[in-house]
């Protein structure tokens, strides 16, 4: 699909020399990347590498040890709480679990942020919510409770909720994890179409290589606490970096070893 190129050069999110650790465990070491406006940027990498942590750092839910995160030139970690909340009205996040409010039905879930922040009359909120639900194909499920929906449907409702306030950026945390092929196809289509239609800046965090390469405009691959490769999907597929080839090809052993570090096998067995 031909994607409209935004001529504005300044990226929406810039991460400069970010390091972050939990206790002794270093998660990111001097990571720098930028998220261009109006495009789908993917961040890929093996599980457990801290991709979700990276999203939380972007949203200001966590504070880096060193380095900074700029959202539209504002340092999210230097903001006061009110300023941070103002910034968050311009971004939204699709959590891996969907994170729907379990005590509200689908309609109220999508309407929630609108009622809190928009100040619009209920009649208009109703129309906006129905339009968002129509966009994800779940207008018919408006009265259902989250526990009556399948995992894929929950994620679509969460997507409708994430775009309810028309944010500038949506962050997707593992949107394809654990989905059947049909739900996966639906989500791929939705993310691409919504990004184009609403001129959204999208950040997709995932390890589903084929899906990501099919929708992303630009991809960062992370491993070993840093970015090991970046480029358009075509550039990455052509790359000769061993670690990247292993990841994209899904090979069990390679630069990322199959075995977790352990002492000598023979010694372990024979005591």
């Amino acid at each position: 699909m031909e994607h409209k190129v935004i001529t504005e050069p300044k990226p929406l999110v810039e991460i400069h020399n970010l390091s972050f650790s939990r206790g002794e465990h270093v998660i990111f070491d001097d990571v720098s990347l930028s998220i261009p406006r109006g495009k789908v940027t993917a961040i890929m990498g093996p599980s457990g590498i801290g991709k979700t942590t990276l999203l939380k750092l972007m949203g200001g839910q966590l504070t880096p040890d060193t380095g900074k995160v700029l959202f539209d030139d504002v340092d999210v970690n230097k903001c006061r709480r009110e300023e941070l909340f103002e910034l968050r009205k311009r971004m939204s996040m699709l959590f891996q679990s969907g994170a729907l409010f379990t005590d509200m039905n689908v309609f109220d879930n999508v309407a929630f942020a609108l009622r809190e922040h928009s100040g619009l009359p209920e009649m208009i909120i109703k129309r906006i919510v129905l339009m968002k639900l129509e966009a994800v194909g779940l207008r018919g499920a408006a009265k259902m409770m989250p526990n009556e929906l399948s995992g894929g449907m929950q994620r679509r409702v969460a997507l409708a909720r994430a775009i309810a306030l028309e944010p500038e950026m949506v962050m997707y945390d593992e949107p394809f994890a654990g989905q059947d092929p049909i739900s996966m196809g639906v989500l791929v289509k939705l993310i691409r179409e919504l990004s184009d239609a609403l001129q959204l800046t999208s950040v997709v965090i995932s390890h589903d290589v084929q899906e990501v390469l099919s929708i992303a405009d630009y991809v960062y691959v992370m491993a070993d606490k840093r970015v090991i490769a970046q480029g358009t999907p075509a550039e990455l597929k052509a790359s000769e970096i061993e670690q990247l080839k292993q990841f994209i090809g899904g090979e069990p052993d390679g630069p990322v070893p199959f075995h977790f570090p352990a002492q000598d096998y023979q010694k372990d067995l024979l005591g």
Binding site: K56, G59, E86, S97, A99, F101, T102, A113, E116
Partner: protein, 260 residues
């Protein structure tokens, strides 16, 4: 373990205790030190229903049985001294001064406190709290504050209901069953219960218990380790810690109120 390690462990748990108290204090401060909005009232009313109204049956039935048992045991003792007419004040004062606030708080910790912890813990583990944050809505204000106020308002009311029903239970046993004169049951009861000494103190006790039980329940939920084991542990901790806190505080308050 060497002596030095033991000292280090003691120090570590001391520091953890103080840090926990600090975090709990900050959570409560963040939740309630706000100018209320019109919307907060409807959240509060909803929680008042969940926390207070839904605990009513338990409180009502327990109050009735405790009042009846108290009257039966009291009657058997008092009748030996020929003072069974004093059954009314005995039941009423035991309930108002001790059993009403304390047993209600213990039942409340088991019924509502554990539910609050589990609910908030699950909200945390399903990332509902994070998602509120990302929607620029403060979870302390949206989730913690209405539940806190609902607990603080409903527990004293539940304690009064418990006490009233308990006295009625005492009346059933003493008057209907054991045949004490109804007029003297009520009139001696009325003469010996004082507004300031008994009823106001009952309310003070239950407000203190309400703050402590609700606070512990909310904090345990908010700090939960988001997995099934963490939630089950937090729920247990809520019941154990708030029950112990209620019993210890009860002694302290009783000493202050009646120790002179």
């Amino acid at each position: 373990m060497s002596l030095l390690d033991k000292v280090a462990n003691l120090g570590r748990s001391g520091i953890e205790l103080i840090m926990g108290l600090g975090r709990a204090g900050l959570m409560l401060w963040g939740a309630i030190a706000r100018k209320p909005r019109a919307k907060d009232f409807s959240l509060f009313v909803k929680q008042l229903y969940v926390v207070g109204v839904q605990s009513m049956v338990l409180i009502f039935v327990s109050g009735l049985f405790i009042g009846m048992v108290l009257a039966l045991q009291g009657y058997n003792i008092l009748v030996g001294f020929g003072t069974e007419e004093s059954l009314g004040p005995m039941v009423a004062l035991s309930l108002l001064r001790e059993l009403g606030p304390v047993v209600t708080a213990l039942l409340f910790a088991g019924r509502a406190g554990s539910a609050l912890t589990a609910e908030i813990g699950l909200m945390k583990s399903t990332e509902q709290l994070s998602s509120l944050e990302m929607m620029a809505i403060d979870p302390l204000r949206q989730i913690i504050a209405p539940r806190f106020w609902a607990g603080v308002v409903s527990l004293p009311l539940l304690a009064l209901i418990f006490t009233a029903v308990g006295i009625y239970g005492g009346h059933i046993v003493g008057v209907e069953w054991k045949g004490i004169d109804s007029g003297s049951f009520w009139s001696i009861l009325q003469a010996s219960v004082e507004w300031r000494q008994d009823i106001v103190n009952c309310l003070i006790k239950s407000i203190v218990f309400a703050v402590v039980v609700t606070w512990i329940a909310l904090y345990r939920g908010y700090q939960v380790i988001p997995n099934p084991e963490g939630i089950s542990k937090a729920t247990t901790q809520t019941v154990v810690q708030s029950s112990l806190a209620v019993l210890a505080l009860d002694f302290l308050l009783t000493a202050l109120m009646f120790g002179r």
